[in-house]
C-alpha cells in the first residue's frame, strides 16, 4: 500500500508538485536517519545525510521511472550518499575496544539512550565494529523489513546472495557481541 502511495507521490514530485516530497520526507526521515545514525553514530551528520538524500531525490527526480519501488530507489541514493561521505572522511572504523569504551562513556546521547538496556548497548557497540558493508546489509535488512528481493535489486545481486550476506554479517555481529560481553 505504502509503496504504491510512495510511487504515486514521487511521480507527482517528478511532474513538478514539490509539496508531495514533504509527504515522502515525513514518511522516511526516521528510517533514513536511523540508517545513517547506525552507520556513523553522529546525529548532526546523519541529519545532513538525510537532507542530502532528499536533495538528490529532488535533483534527480527525472530519473525515477515509477517501475520499481520508491523505497528501494531512495535507499539506493542513501547508500551512495553514505559511501560518498565515507570516502570523503576516510572514516576510521577499526578502533580498538578500549577506545570504543571511552567513546561510549563520553557520549551522552548514547548513554542516555542505552543505559537501561545493556544488551542493546552491546549490540550497538558490536554494530559499530562491523565492517561497513556488513553493517550496511544488516541496516538495509532492518529498514527494508527483510525484503531480500528488493535489497538484492538495490545491491545488484540475487535474493539468495542477500540472504548469504545477511547470514555472514549476523555471524560476525554475533561473534563481536560475544567478545564485548566477555570484556564487560
Amino acid at each position: 500500500m505504502n509503496s504504491l502511495g510512495d510511487n504515486a507521490l514521487m511521480i507527482k514530485v517528478k511532474d513538478g508538485d514539490f509539496d508531495k516530497l514533504g509527504t515522502l520526507f515525513e514518511r522516511y526521515k526516521k528510517p533514513l536517519f536511523g540508517f545513517f545514525y547506525h552507520m556513523n553514530k553522529d546525529v548532526d551528520l546523519s541529519e545532513d545525510l538525510v537532507q542530502n538524500v532528499f536533495f538528490r531525490i529532488l535533483k534527480y527526480r527525472y530519473l525515477f521511472r515509477g517501475e520499481g519501488d520508491f523505497r528501494t530507489w531512495m535507499f539506493h541514493i542513501a547508500r551512495n550518499v553514505s559511501h560518498d561521505h565515507f570516502r570523503k572522511i576516510k572514516w576510521k572504523g577499526r578502533e580498538d575496544l578500549d577506545q570504543w569504551q571511552e567513546r561510549l562513556s563520553n557520549n551522552d546521547n548514547r548513554q542516555a539512550e542505552f543505559q537501561q538496556d545493556e544488551e542493546l548497548e552491546l549490540l550497538s557497540m558490536a554494530m559499530d565494529r562491523l565492517p561497513e558493508d556488513k553493517r550496511e546489509i544488516l541496516l538495509l535488512s532492518k529498514y527494508h523489513e527483510k525484503k531480500y528481493r528488493e535489497i538484492g535489486a538495490l545491491l545488484g545481486c540475487t535474493e539468495g546472495a542477500v540472504k548469504v550476506k545477511v547470514f555472514r554479517a549476523m555471524q560476525e555481529l554475533k561473534d563481536l557481541y560475544k567478545q564485548l560481553e566477555k570484556h564487560l
Binding site: 526516521k30 546525529v43 541529519e47 542493546l120
Partner: protein, 264 residues
C-alpha cells in the same frame, strides 16, 4: 539439493551452539542461497535480529525539518521564477546555438539557390520590356480603333484600362472616339476610359469641347454628370448650346439645366 529436514536442523543447532565448522557454514550458505532455509530460521541470529529491530536511533532534531522545508521552498521559488541567467548558461546555450547555426545555414543555402541568376534581366531591362509591352498595346489599340466593327473598337477602348499610363496619343485617340465614333456604346466606353485622365487640363478641355458634338442623350447626360463631378464651370457654355438646340429631348434639357444650376 536433497537434504532432509533432520540434517538441516542439526546444522542449524550447531550454528546456534556456536560449534559449527567452516564446512557447516558453507552448507548453511548454500541452503540460504537455494531458498531452502531463511535467515530467520537460524535461532541464534533471530534473537540478535530482534534486538537489532529494537536498536533505535535518537529522534532527528527539528533542524532537519527546518532545513528540508527550507530547501523545498527554495526549489519551489526557483522553479517558479524564470531565470534569464539560466538562459545564458552553457548547457542551455548549446542546443540554442546549434539550432541557430542550422537555421543560418539553411538561410544561406536558400539564399544561394534562390538568388537571381546572372542571365535574368535587371531592373532596367524589366522597365524596357514593360515599355515595349505598353507600346505594343498602344499600337494594337490604335489599330483596333480604326476597325469597322464596333466590337473591335470597344475592345480597343477597353485595352486602355490595362495600360498603367496612357500616352497623349492614346488620350487623343479616345477623345476623338468620344467625339466622332458612330456607335454610342463606343463613345460611352471612351468617356469611361478618359475619366482617369481628367486631372490633365487638356483632357478636360477636350471633354468640354466634345459636349456640343454629342447628340445621344446618354452621352450628353454622362458628360453632364462628369462635369458636375469635376466642378467644371467652363462647361456651362457648351451645355447652353445643348439646351438651346431644338433636337435635344426635353428630359435631357431638364437634366442639363440642373447640372448647369449646380455648376453656376
Amino acid at each position: 539439493m536433497k537434504i532432509d529436514e533432520a540434517y538441516i536442523q542439526q546444522l542449524l543447532d550447531r550454528v546456534a551452539a556456536g560449534v559449527a565448522t567452516q564446512g557447516d557454514h558453507l552448507e548453511i550458505e548454500e541452503l540460504l542461497d537455494g531458498g531452502v532455509i531463511r535467515p530467520e530460521d537460524i535461532e541464534s541470529h533471530a534473537r540478535i535480529e530482534q534486538q537489532l529491530l529494537r536498536l533505535d536511533a535518537p529522534e532527528p532534531s527539528s533542524s532537519l525539518d527546518r532545513q528540508f522545508y527550507q530547501m523545498l521552498s527554495n526549489n519551489k521559488s526557483s522553479k517558479k521564477a524564470m531565470r534569464w541567467s539560466q538562459f545564458f548558461q552553457w548547457p542551455q546555450l548549446v542546443p540554442k546555438f546549434a539550432i541557430a547555426s542550422v537555421m543560418l545555414l539553411v538561410g544561406v543555402g536558400a539564399g544561394y539557390f534562390l538568388r537571381p541568376s546572372a542571365d535574368a534581366p535587371g531592373d532596367g531591362e524589366i522597365a524596357y520590356l514593360s515599355r515595349q509591352v505598353s507600346d505594343l498595346q498602344e499600337m494594337m489599340m490604335l489599330s483596333l480603333l480604326e476597325k469597322g466593327s464596333a466590337t473591335e473598337r470597344l475592345k480597343a477602348v477597353n485595352l486602355t484600362q490595362e495600360m498603367n499610363e496612357a500616352s497623349q496619343k492614346v488620350t487623343n485617340a479616345l477623345i476623338q472616339t468620344l467625339s466622332e465614333d458612330e456607335n454610342i456604346n463606343v463613345r460611352l466606353a471612351a468617356l469611361e476610359a478618359l475619366k482617369p485622365y481628367t486631372t490633365d487640363s487638356s483632357v478636360r478641355e477636350a471633354l468640354i469641347r466634345s459636349i456640343a458634338k454629342q447628340e445621344s442623350p446618354l452621352v450628353q447626360i454622362s458628360l453632364a454628370e462628369l462635369m458636375v463631378a469635376l466642378q467644371e464651370r467652363s462647361a456651362v457654355k457648351e451645355f447652353e448650346k445643348i439646351v438651346d438646340s431644338d433636337r435635344t429631348p426635353a428630359e435631357v434639357k431638364k437634366k442639363i439645366r440642373e447640372t448647369m444650376e449646380i455648376l453656376i
